[in-house]
Amino acid sequence: MRSSKIFSVWHGIPLFILLFFLAPILIILSSVFADYSENWSHIYEYVLGDYILNSLILVSGVSLIVMIIGSLTAWLVSNYQFFGKRFFEWGLILPLAIPPYILAYTFTGLFDSYGTMNEIARSLFNLEQNEMLFPNIRNIYGAIIVFSFTLYPYVYLICRTAFLNQSRSMFEVGRTLGLSQASIFLKLALPLVRPALIAGTMIVAMETLSDFGAVDHFAISTFTTGIFRTWYGMYDLTTAMQLASMLLIFITFCLVIERTSRKNANYSTIGSNFKPTQVTRLGSLGSFVCFFVCFIPIFIGFILPILEILNWSLRFNTSFFNEQFFSISLNTVLLSILSAILCTFIAMIINFSIRYKNSSVIKSINPFLNIGYAVPGLILAVGIVQLFVFLDNNILNSFEGYFLTGSLFGLIFAYIIKSYALANSTYEAGYQKISQTIDDSARVLKSTGLNLLFRVHFPILKTSFFTSILLVTSEVVKELPATLILRPFNFETLAVSTYIYASEERMVEAAAPATAIILIGLIPIFFISQMIRASRLEKS
C-alpha cells in the first residue's frame, strides 16, 4: 500500500482535533499537581471513604448482575428454540433506550411508600396506609438494580456474538465426555467467552461510574455526586478536578481491561472447520423457563418504566405536552442534530485522512480520539469549563465578557468528544466496504484530496453519514451531567428538564420529556435490531 511521508493538511487536521479533544482531560489530570485546599482535607477525612466504598459496591453489584443476566440470556437465545425467541433476540436490548436516570425516576414512582406498586398492593391485599409490600428503592441496592437492568444489554450483545461464533463440534465433544447441557454452558461455553464477558462488563462499570442522574436521585455519595457537590456546594473547582482525576484514573483502569479483553474476545471465533451451533428445540416446560428468564429483564428494564410513564401521562392528562415542552424539545433536537453533524464530519475527515494518507501517525491518533466515550460527562464538563475560561481570558479577550464560557459551544464540544467513538465506528465500518481499487482508479483519474472525498467517498458512504447522525443524535439527547453543567443560563434540554422535575419530586411532569427521550433512544435500538436480524440470516 502506498504511504506518504510528506506532512500535509491531512496530517495537520487530525493532530489539531486531537489537541482539542485531549485538552479538557489533560487540564483535569494536571490538577493532581495543584495545591490541595482545606476542602480536600475535609473530603479526604470525612467523605472520600464513602465515595470509594459506594462506588465499589455499586460497580461490583452491577457487574455481577449484568454478567449473569447478559450471559444467560445470550446463551439461551443463541442455543435454544423457545416461544418468543425471535422477539427476545432483539427485544433484550430494548432497556438501552432508557437512560439509568429515567429508570431511577420511574422506579421511585413505582416503589416509593406511596408509589404505584405499593398502592396497588394495598388495595389488593387490604393493607394499612403505613404498610408496604415493596421495600424502599432509594438506596444503593435500588441503584444496583436500576443500573443492572438498563445496562445488561451491553453484556448481552457482546456475549451473543461470541456464543454465535462458537463451534458446535466443541460442544459435541463435551457431550461425549459426559457433560450435561448446564455443564456445557458453565464449563465450556462461558469460560470461552470470558474475554467478551469482561469487555462488556467493563463498559457497564464505566457507565455506572460515570452516571450522575440516578445516584443523585437516590442520594448516594459517589465520585460524580461528590464532584458536583464540591463544585456547586463548596464552589471549589480545583478540589472538584482533583476528585475527577481520581475517578478518571479508576475509569482508565476499566478502559485498559476492556480494550485488552476485546482484543482476546475472538479467541473462540470462527475457524476453517467452524460448524454453527445447533439450536435445540425445547419442550413446553423448558420453553416456559427460557421465556420467563428472557422476559424478566425486559419487563423490569423497559416495560415497567414505560407503564409507569404511561400511568403518569394518563393520570395527569396530556396538559404538560405544552408550549414549553415543545420549545425544550426543539432546543434538544436542534442542538443534538448540530452536534451530530459536526461529530460525523470530524469522523469523516479523520477516517478519510487515514485512508488517503495511509499514515501510521494518523492511524495512531484515532484510538486517542475515541477515549471520550469513557470519560464521564461531568468530568468532561469540568475540563471544558476550565479550558474555555483559559481561552476567554488569554486568547479571546478582545470580546466583551466571555465568548466561549457559558455558551452553547461548550455543550456542542462535550457532545462531540463523548460521541466521537460512535460516529467513528460507523465510518470505519463503511470504509471497510470500499475497495482500495476505487481510490486508486479515482486518483489515476486525477481526483485527489477534497475532490476525492466529496465526489467519491461521501456519496458512497451516504448511509454511514446518516446512520452516524441518527446514532449520535439519540445519544446526545440522553446526555445529562455535561448538559447540566455546560448549558447556557436558562437553557433547557429534555434531559435537564426531566432531571429538574424529578429533583423537585414533580415526577408526573417528567413524563413528557422522559417519553421524548425514550422515543429518540429507540433509534439506535432499531439499527442494532436490524444488525441482529442480519446476523441471524447469515448464520442460517
Binding site: T437, I438, D440, R443, V444, L445, K446, V456, P459
Partner: protein, 217 residues
C-alpha cells in the same frame, strides 16, 4: 521509437527481510503492448502500482515520458502521470451511472458528454449509459472500465488482470476487441496477468517474473 516508460535499477520490498523486486530494468515503447506474467505474490501488481505512483520506490527510478516520476524520496503523484488504470474488480464508482463514470476523469472538458458517448460506443455499451454499475454484467462493467480509462487519452494504460473475472468466451471476445482498439489508438499498454495464453495473444513482448528470476521473451 522513443521509450514512453523506463524503469532503471528498481528495487522494492515490503519489509527489510524480503525484497519483492530487485534491480529491475525495463522499457516500454510508444504503441507497444507488454505483459508481465507470473504467479500470484511475485510482485507484478506491485510493479504496476509503482508505475502508477500508488507505491513509493525504495531504490531506482521510474521515468515516464522522459521525466522522472519516482525515485528514492520522490514521488510524482498518480494524478500527474497521465495514466489509465483498469483493475480486475473494475472499481466503477457505485454511486454514478455508466455515463458519469466514464466522464469522471474529464469533468473539466466542455464536450464531455459527446466524448463519453463516443467511447461508450467504441466499447459497445452506449445503450447502458443511464444504468448503474450493479445493474449491468461483469463483462459490460469491464468495457465501461476500459472506456473510462481511455477517455482521458493516457500516455500509458496499466491493466491489472483486467480479464481475470470473466468467463472464457467473454474473455476471448474482449481480447480481440480491446487489442484492436489499443493498436488503432497506438496505445502503450502494460498488462499484468498470470494467464500465459492471454499474455501470448495480447503482447508484443512478455516479461516473466519467477522466483528470483526475470525472463524477457
Amino acid at each position: 521509437m522513443k521509450n514512453i516508460l523506463e524503469i532503471r535499477n528498481l528495487s522494492h520490498a515490503y519489509d527489510q527481510a524480503s525484497s519483492i523486486i530487485k534491480d529491475f530494468n525495463f522499457s516500454l515503447k510508444k504503441g507497444e503492448i507488454v505483459s508481465i506474467l507470473g504467479p500470484s505474490g511475485i510482485g507484478k501488481t506491485t510493479l504496476l502500482r509503482i508505475v502508477a505512483g500508488l507505491e513509493d520506490v525504495m531504490d531506482g527510478e521510474v521515468i515516464i515520458s522522459e521525466k522522472v516520476a519516482s525515485k528514492k524520496n520522490f514521488l510524482l503523484p498518480p494524478e500527474k502521470r497521465n495514466l489509465g488504470l483498469v483493475v480486475e474488480d473494475r472499481a466503477l464508482f457505485p454511486h454514478l451511472n455508466i455515463e458519469k463514470n466514464v466522464m469522471f476523469g474529464i469533468s473539466h472538458i466542455q464536450e464531455r458528454e459527446s466524448l463519453a458517448q463516443e467511447y461508450l460506443s467504441l466499447f459497445k455499451v452506449a445503450d447502458l449509459s443511464k444504468k448503474y454499475p450493479h445493474e449491468i454484467s461483469a463483462g459490460q462493467q469491464q468495457r465501461v472500465a476500459f472506456a473510462r480509462a481511455l477517455i482521458t487519452n493516457p500516455d500509458i494504460l496499466l491493466l491489472d488482470e483486467p480479464f481475470g473475472a470473466l468467463d472464457k468466451n467473454l474473455k476471448e471476445e474482449l481480447h480481440e476487441e480491446t487489442k484492436k482498439i489499443f493498436k488503432n489508438k497506438d496505445l502503450s499498454v502494460l498488462l499484468v496477468t498470470h494467464d500465459e495464453e492471454e499474455a501470448k495473444y495480447f503482447s508484443d513482448r512478455i516479461i516473466e517474473f519467477q522466483e528470483d528470476k526475470i525472463f524477457i521473451r
